[in-house]
């Protein structure tokens, strides 16, 4: 016997809230992307817990796809940060509040 699904969902909710706080309140671009990663991790915890609750493999399959999306998103996001750092010389999100042209 493991914990009830409600507790798993509560853990996922707490993780998602912390990730959302990190993505919204921090100003470093890398910390913003880390917040997105935390939110995706919370989603995968909820998916695997639901997969155990209803004895279905769909949740685990979606977790695999979620990991693939996480890897692709992180690689493109970090390449974008390298590019932004080259152009603007900073990683502070306040430096990208205006557009040129």
């Amino acid at each position: 016997m493991t914990a009830p699904l409600e507790h798993v969902l509560a853990l996922a909710l707490v993780l998602f809230a912390m990730g959302a706080f990190c993505a919204l309140a921090r100003r470093n671009l890398i910390m913003i992307l880390l917040g997105v990663e935390i939110m995706l991790n919370a989603c995968s915890i909820a998916l695997v817990g639901a997969s155990l609750k209803w004895q279905s493999l769909d949740g685990q399959a979606f977790t695999l796809f979620l990991m693939a999306l996480t890897a692709a998103e992180a690689s493109v996001g970090l390449a974008l940060f390298v590019h932004a750092r080259k152009r603007a010389g900073t990683l502070d999100s306040g430096g990208f509040s205006s557009m040129k042209g």
Partner: protein, 206 residues
């Protein structure tokens, strides 16, 4: 309380604590290290939930490849002087209120009566079962993920190119970008070497 329940609550505490510590770190390097701990504990949690293949992939992809990629980029871009903390409370009061509301909802979920929160039975899906299931039911998604990786690789290689190069003076700036190479064999060599960690990571993800 059985042993597995005890393991679950211990892991939940470790995950929540390490993620909370990661969120409030000043330096991104420390946050990444705490997140590696969090993802590793998540992998053990997946194993507890009877999902061995996602558990192994959770260690390999998010905790291994993605976090190492974050470390590479942080080291590549160098340490940036942290700005003095913005003391206006209005900037972070919105996210804090939202997170507090979500936390209150989670607490309500935890405080449900015991008869409504029935513990889940243990189950285990082997990697063979999960693989058969994915390739029988979700094979278009697998193909879409492979296309997505290709697009992500192309996008990353495009983004790290030197955008300062004007069309007229492109050969000069590319020659400056890689001083040690032959003039005839330019092209995508600098971006190729810079994205080689990403290429390895995406092969590991597949």
């Amino acid at each position: 309380m059985s042993v597995t329940q005890l393991i679950f609550y211990t892991l939940a505490g470790v995950i929540a604590l390490s993620t909370g510590l990661a969120v409030f770190q000043r330096q991104p390097v420390h946050a990444v290290v705490y997140l590696v701990v969090s993802f590793f504990a998540t992998a053990v949690l997946f194993g507890l939930f009877g999902a061995p293949l996602p558990a192994v992939l959770q260690i390999m992809v998010p905790a291994g490849a993605v976090m190492v990629l974050f470390l590479f980029i942080i080291m590549l871009l160098g340490r940036e002087e942290p700005k003095p903390r913005d003391l206006s409370t209005l900037r972070w009061i919105g996210p804090a209120v939202l997170a507090a509301v979500a936390g209150a909802a989670g607490t309500t979920l935890l405080l449900l009566p015991a008869h409504e929160a029935t513990p889940m039975a243990m189950a285990k899906a082997s990697a063979r079962e999960l693989g058969h299931y994915v390739y029988q039911n979700y094979w278009p998604a697998v193909e879409a993920v492979s296309v997505l990786f290709f697009v992500a690789l192309a996008g990353a290689m495009f983004l790290v190119r030197d955008f300062k190069a004007r069309p007229g003076a492109s050969s000069d700036t590319q020659g400056e970008a890689q001083p040690g190479s032959q003039p005839g064999s330019q092209g995508d060599a600098p971006s190729g070497t810079q994205t080689s960690p990403r290429a390895g990571q995406e092969e590991a993800a597949q």
